[in-house]
């Protein structure tokens, strides 16, 4: 009896919602017929039958959320296999059982997902994904300021390639939520020009990998104009989108541009980890009179955190202690914070108390918080989902050397991705990405344990 398993419908999909069955038990389907609608973290997609036959059982009820990739969802008997129809299961909100993980090569970031920031905000909060928090930040700022608009590829009718702009078109209309052609250099420049002309654009790059086509406008047009004009001409613009490695998308789609942009005077560079910071910092970025590069992470979009209710704005340029500790400081940003938190958990079991600092803003860098933590622990490891050479880690090490030398009891170490283009093969990708185990090893080493 051939079963159809829930397929992975995007590079990062691990589970989906079985939104709707389009066939019923007893129906005869032909190859290519649409049998179900599956909602992923990115989109609602149609599932087609590969082979024809008679539907003998629906194994997962319509409306079931959290169906793991690889779960059998339907059986279709071939023409020569006459079977009695099985009963349809009742709808359930419980995640479907997982027979076997289809994706065996999930790298460390997944492990990090279980860890949430311990620093909880005071006052009422609500549980939100990073994706929802980013959308709310944009929507709130667009309500407050008519000059704020969002443009990019698939931001409007498609509802965002990663669903970050979901619902914005409905609320704000096509004049303020603008689908662009695939023309990064052009629309980055057009956005920068609109900012010079007095508007406050949010330019979404489908990923920052594509922004390399537009980097001239981010740096030469947006970042330098205020200085070159002697302070006359502003360019208040936010360039945002996912940055860093996703999952199995290969070298050209897996790069962390944090160090690139953080080296440019005239830019603000933000790379949040949690949903509350994503929201609060995006709101601050949109309000900033300066050009901002806002680096998100695809693997974090679906993670949930407690987000304060109301007008939650987080100051730019301030790091956050996400876990207090006394023996060693783990400095990180973006998805690396999850890796550091996972390592801290392991270290705690070994009796090593690790403090985790989330930089949140990469430029201007909060040197004071980094140095204060170093003064407290005297040992430091930088955790970065990116290449080691000329990295944010390099910068933190330079700061520790030049401004915190007397506080150091050991050399500052960095734990990063391997110094190679990111490979595709599951085992190689896993080997290349930053891992909590390596952070644990490095932390032990600087503690001489």
């Amino acid at each position: 009896m051939p079963q159809i398993l829930l397929p992975a419908m995007s590079p990062t999909m691990e589970e989906g919602t079985l939104a709707k069955w389009l066939v019923a038990v007893g129906d005869v389907v032909k190859p290519g017929d649409v049998i179900a609608e599956i909602e992923t973290d990115k989109a609602t997609m149609e599932l087609e039958a590969d082979d024809g036959g008679t539907v003998t059982a629906l194994l997962v009820a319509a409306g079931t959320e959290g169906v793991k990739v690889g779960t059998p969802i339907i059986t279709i008997a071939g023409e020569d296999e006459a079977q009695a129809p099985a009963p349809t299961p009742a709808p359930t909100r419980q995640p479907a059982p997982v027979p076997a993980p289809a994706q065996t090569a999930q790298a460390e970031p997944v492990e990090a997902r279980a860890v949430t920031a311990p620093e909880l905000a005071t006052g009422p909060t609500r549980r939100q994904t990073v994706r929802e928090a980013l959308r709310d930040a944009m929507a709130e700022e667009m309500r407050a300021d008519q000059t704020v608009f969002v443009m990019g590829e698939e931001v409007a009718e498609y509802q965002g390639a990663y669903k970050v702009t979901q619902g914005l078109l409905d609320e704000f209309g096509g004049g303020r939520v603008i689908d662009t052609p695939i023309t990064e250099y052009g629309f980055a420049g057009l956005g920068a020009g609109a900012a010079m002309g007095g508007l406050k654009p949010i330019v979404e790059f489908m990923t920052f990998n594509f922004a390399m086509q537009a980097i001239d406008h981010i740096i030469n047009s947006a970042a330098k104009t205020l200085y070159m004009s002697g302070g006359q001409m502003r360019c208040p613009i936010v360039f945002r989108g996912p940055n860093g490695a996703a999952s199995r998308v290969g070298a050209q789609h897996s790069q962390n541009y944090g160090p690139w942009y953080a080296s440019v005077p005239g830019l603000i560079v933000i790379a949040p980890y949690s949903a509350d910071d994503a929201k609060g910092l995006l709101k601050a970025a949109i309000r900033s009179p300066d050009p901002v590069v806002f680096l998100e992470n695809e693997l974090l979009y679906g993670q949930s955190f407690d987000v304060p209710e109301g007008d939650h704005v987080v100051p730019i340029g301030k790091a956050r202690i996400v876990r207090e500790g006394t023996d060693v400081t783990l400095v990180s940003y973006s998805i690396g914070v999850g890796v550091a938190l996972a390592a801290a958990e392991t270290l705690a079991a070994d009796g090593i108390s690790a403090e985790v600092v989330d930089l949140r803003t990469l430029r201007p860098l909060d040197r004071a918080t980094v140095l204060a933590s170093l003064k407290k622990t005297n040992r430091m490891v930088v955790v970065e989902e990116g290449w080691p050479t000329c990295s944010i880690a390099s910068e933190i090490i330079a700061i520790a050397m030049t401004e915190g030398f007397d506080d150091l009891d050991a050399p500052v170490l960095r734990v990063t991705n391997a110094d190679v283009p990111l490979p595709y093969a599951a085992n190689l990708e896993k080997a290349a990405l930053v891992k909590a185990d390596d952070v644990v090893t490095a932390a032990r080493s600087v503690c001489y344990r």
């Binding site: 052009g186 609109a194 900012a195 104009t225 302070g231 006359q232 300066d290």
Partner: protein, 322 residues
Amino acid sequence: MATKEQLLDMYRQMVLIRRFEERAGQLYGMGQIGGFCHLYIGQEAVVVGMQAELKRGDSIITGYRDHGHMLACGIDAKAVMAELTGRAAGISGGKGGSMHMFSVEHGFFGGHGIVAAQVPLGAGLGFAHKYRNDGHIAVTYFGDGAANQGQVYESFNMAELWKLPVIFIIENNQYAMGTSVNRASAEDQLYRRGESFRVPGLQVDGMDVLAVRGAAKLAVEWVRGGNGPLLLEMKTYRYRGHSMSDPAKYRSREEVQAMRDKSDPIEGLKKEIIEAGHADEAALKAIDREVRDIVAESADFALEAPEPALSELHTDVLLGTY
């Protein structure tokens, strides 16, 4: 038809640009201006003719050959010259230099040093006008060299798609540095470059300020009328090198001289003014003298003004405090 006052004003502006640029060339030779310095001599009719049809509140943007555009926007010659000499009184406080000058007050958005980068920026200025529905337009100047950059076509596409109020102006001075249009452009009739994006184009004699003004009037009406962008190819010519360090090996002295003798925009307008009886030689000479005084004063000012304070090194990087 242009009135007497308009004709004399265009004459005065073209002479001002010519004399200003000549003086800038001299100061460069004296080592008072550093780096790159791209002179507009020969192309004066383009910006002066265009500017005659624009309104206050419209936006102008261009590349690095920008001194003429600044003067035509009504920006004080002293502030421009002092920027060239890198002084605090320069319009960018001495931090921009020849290629990076701006005046938000005058609707002049630069002054951009990356070839063709001003084209999407200009489309963005047009986008802002349309977004605000303020009735203003953006005028985006670029050269025949820039016309081969991909982002120009990305801009044409979006501008037409969204019917942005933008006039794209190719100042075709026939050489991109030392490469003639024919050696770089498969389609050398540059006014046709918008065709695949349905952007209408016109070719204009950019050495004739009245022809430019006529085209400008038509283009402004079209664009202000909500019809989307328009492309004007201005056939013009620069008498000087691409920048101050130009080997001048790519064209003959005779070619340049022939242009000066037969097509000079200032001489052409002068002739029209005299023939129409609007002014005589003496009246025009009076304008020349007035302009010479302005330029001499700007040069003196630019040489005497102090350099920026060292404390300015770290200002204007960011506006906010973080």
